[in-house]
């Protein structure tokens, strides 16, 4: 069962490594990189990439790279508005029918033209049992896919399904268009490490755990893009190391930045700090089925017993914003605009609320946490404040994300720190977390009124009406308090002083953002 690598690939990999490590040569050694022939863009905070097959990718760094190699029918702009990508235009003749007009002359990395057949193939592959994509369920509402002509395709859903448009954008939903002619007889083993897409870059080499090298796709459909010929992507596990590498001149861009360093870096002339509210939501998940979180008054008391702004200041070093609900503010058309009273610190009201519950001072509970330092701090800050205000005895227990996830799924948990990153449709947040059947509803929360509204929102094709429905849902949910929404964090990119052309997106489409960089 050992996959044997052929010698040719080893040679290529070694060449790629040599190329990649050249990026680390210190300046004084006299090896300054040529101006912008090679962009060095580090992925920081992660270093594991298992697959670059969009239908199978689940890890964030995988998505970062996939964004540079593939396109979707649509994509988001900086304001999280849907704009064309491979599809020039789309129309909705009926609530269950989406018709896309595709660009012509789009070439895959191997020179073959992309047509509607590839789109149909991509979607059917995602829906197939055999391929077993983690994103399969998202495309289950599709009932039929019809190729009208090589550049026109119709997608029909069984019922009106508003999120489908979001799922067809270039995010982490797996719908990047893959080449039918290479995959129609099954996915070859090496597609995961030698992917072929239509994106601005081609993968030249990949050194697991270390670095990737991309080269420009000369036949990319957007004129003049990409502006750089070669991109070196070192995988730097420690964020702070990425900062040092940037300051030292070994890399030009980082994909993230440590919250603690932002103020210092903003004042540093060697680096430009880009920041934007991110599409993410961090909250405290309470298991509504077990004590002491089975009492709504107790939950409400908790909600008023800590100050979210100081949480942002202390946990994120100020690099974030208080969350008014679970839908991030960057999805502006659906997010709650004002901070609900129940999420504001009010010690007296909290204590009064607690007396209405069956739990009082001295109540014990364990809050699970995991992961990097700021996640652990998140739990600590919550517990410290709540213990002080309500005189309860909560404790933090550190575990790892896999274990916590399992425990949440099996219900073997009281409370835990949790969050979602990079989901782009409010349905993914609200429906999945609050609906009785939601796939992310680990709180055992069930409110039929909320369920009805969420189902309605799913089939409401008018965006502003849809947004209002989600706000109604969140208003009810805030009273029920199944979770305690806390904050959303900013996304950051660090750029070396002379880098220009990099545009930040709230969900960090790193690979795609590299295409417009013109100066390094």
């Amino acid at each position: 069962m050992t996959t044997s690598r052929n010698p040719n690939r080893r040679v290529i990999l070694k060449a790629g490594v040599a190329g990649g490590t050249l990026a680390f040569l210190p300046l004084w050694a006299g090896a300054a990189e040529a101006a912008c022939a090679t962009l060095r863009a580090g992925i920081t905070g992660y270093n594991v990439i298992n697959t670059l097959d969009p239908g199978q990718a689940t890890l964030i760094p995988e998505s970062y790279v996939i964004w540079g190699l593939f396109n979707c029918l649509l994509k988001f702009d900086e304001g999280m508005n849907i704009v064309p990508d491979l599809a020039i235009s789309y129309e909705t003749p009926s609530p269950t029918l989406l018709r896309f007009k595709l660009r012509d002359g789009v070439k895959f990395h191997d020179g073959v033209e992309m047509t509607a057949e590839d789109v149909k193939f991509t979607l059917e592959r995602l829906r197939s049992e055999e391929y077993a994509s983690p994103h399969k369920s998202k495309f289950a509402p599709i009932s039929d896919i019809r190729v009208i002509d090589p550049y026109t395709i119709e997608i029909e859903t069984a019922e009106p399904f508003a999120p489908m448009l979001s799922y067809l954008t270039n995010t982490r939903t797996g719908s990047q268009i893959v080449p039918k002619h290479l995959l129609e007889n099954g996915t070859p083993e090496d597609f995961a490490t030698n992917p072929v897409g239509t994106g601005p870059f081609k993968l030249q080499s990949y050194e697991p755990g270390a670095a990737l090298t991309l080269t420009a796709h000369t036949e990319y459909f957007e004129e003049g893009l990409p502006k750089v010929q070669t991109v070196n992507i070192p995988l730097i596990a420690e964020e702070s190391a990425g900062v040092t590498a940037l300051l030292g001149g070994s890399i030009d861009i980082t994909s993230t930045a440590p919250f603690a360093d932002i103020p210092n870096l903003a004042a540093d002339s060697r680096v430009q700090v880009l920041k934007k509210p991110g599409t993410n939501s961090r909250f405290i998940s309470l298991n509504n089925a077990v004590a002491p979180f089975d009492d709504v008054h107790f939950r409400r008391a908790l909600s008023m017993a800590f100050d979210r702004q100081s949480m942002v200041d202390v946990v994120l070093f100020g690099e974030g914003a208080v969350a008014n609900g679970v839908i991030p503010s960057s999805i502006s058309w659906a997010a709650v605009k004002e901070q609900p009273k129940l999420t504001m610190l009010d010690p007296e009201a909290a204590r009064a609320e607690m007396t209405k519950s069956k739990y009082g001072p001295g109540t014990e509970a364990i809050v699970l946490t995991w992961g990097s330092s700021w996640w652990k701090r998140f739990a600590e800050v919550f517990v410290l404040q709540v213990n002080q205000v309500l005189d309860v005895n909560f404790k933090v227990e550190v575990s790892d994300s896999g274990t916590v996830y399992q425990r949440m799924q099996s219900g073997d948990v009281q409370a835990s720190i949790w969050g979602w990153l990079g989901l782009v449709d409010p349905d993914e947040y609200a429906y999945e977390i609050f609906h009785t059947d939601g796939s992310r509803n680990f709180e055992n929360y069930s409110n039929p009124e909320v369920d009805k509204l969420l189902e309605q929102a799913r089939s409401e094709m008018d965006q502003s009406a849809r947004g209002d429905l989600y706000r109604k849902v969140e208003a009810i949910v805030i009273e029920d308090c199944p979770i305690l929404p806390c904050f959303e964090s900013n996304v950051h990119n660090l750029l070396a002083a002379k880098v220009t052309g990099f545009v930040q997106l709230p969900y960090s489409a790193f690979g795609a953002q590299l295409a417009t960089v013109d100066n390094c």
């Binding site: 702070s240 900062v243 440590p258 603690a260 360093d261 103020p263 210092n264 100081s310 200041d313 202390v314 070093f317 330092s373 700021w374 652990k376 701090r377 600590e380 800050v381 517990v383 410290l384 933090v396 227990e397 550190v398």
Partner: protein
């Protein structure tokens, strides 16, 4: 080892004094400190050292000096309990092995060799993966790392003295083996063992803080020294004093223990050269 001899040797004296100061600080410091140990102060986050906060404040506004003293207590406790466990089991095994010889000795030594074939930190890391992290398991890991060391030293020195006059006399008088081992032999070979014990406690603290530092040992919010340093590492560029001063404290503590160990070694039988771990 006489007390007066201890005072005369400068290194041992310095070591003892610093160790005592340190122990006093660790035991009484958190009590007399004006800062609550579990306190937090969100308005005074990451402040540099000042008169109020000699070590500055950390990311939650806690006084670092108080935390360090608490952490030192925890780290010391972990290291000492691990080393004590290692001593109890290791010395017993070593005494019997050195005295009896034969197949028991051979087996014990083989096991010891096996443990010695793993680098100490790698062994500790491996054990943490196998046992899971947390305070007790770190102590357990330290115990398993040092057990073979004490077994070997005890066995070697027992082997050297087992045919000494007083041992033979005890045998002739019909004393039972355990009595001979623990009452006669052990006190006479205690010197190199104690030297190793001080070194072991010192390095045990390093192992614990190392494991906790990378996140595989003691977990927050328990403030062991490694946990405090891990916290300090996150914002090292912005507030380097947390990591620096915590580590400096560890260095001073270890310095004291090492000096003490050196002094003991000088005072003890100079021919009994204990090997460095």
């Amino acid at each position: 080892m006489k007390f007066s001899a201890l005072i005369k040797n400068r290194t041992a004296l310095a070591g003892t004094i610093i160790t005592c100061i340190f122990l006093l600080a660790v035991v009484f410091g958190p009590m007399i400190s004006p800062w609550a140990s579990g306190g937090f102060d969100f308005l005074n986050v990451l402040k540099p050292p000042s008169w109020q906060h000699p070590f500055g404040t950390d990311s939650l506004g806690r006084d670092v000096a108080t935390r360090v003293l608490e952490g030192a207590r925890i780290s010391l406790m972990i290291s000492v309990s691990g080393v004590l466990g290692a001593m109890i089991l290791g010395i017993t095994a070593g005494l019997f092995a050195g005295y009896k010889g034969g197949w028991f000795d051979a087996i014990v030594m083989r096991i010891v060799d096996l443990f010695f074939a793993f680098p100490a930190f790698v062994l500790a890391l491996f054990l943490m993966v196998a046992l899971g992290f947390g305070v007790t398991n770190v102590a357990l890991a330290i115990m398993l790392v040092y057990l073979p060391l004490f077994a070997r030293i005890t066995r070697n020195t027992t082997g050297i003295v087992r045919n000494d006059a007083y041992v033979q006399a005890a045998r002739v008088m019909g004393q039972s083996t355990p009595r001979i081992l623990f009452r006669e032999i052990l006190p006479n070979i205690s010197a190199p063992i104690l030297v190793q014990a001080s070194v072991a406690v010192a390095f045990g603290i390093v192992i614990e803080s190392g494991l906790s530092f990378i996140g595989l040992g003691v977990q927050p919010p328990t403030p062991s020294l490694g946990v405090i340093m891990a916290d300090g590492q996150e914002y090292f560029r912005r507030a380097p004093w947390v990591l620096t001063l915590t580590g400096l404290t560890v260095t001073v503590a270890l310095l004291a223990l090492n000096l003490l160990g050196d002094g003991l070694r000088d005072l003890a039988d100079p021919r009994l050269k204990a090997r460095d771990a």
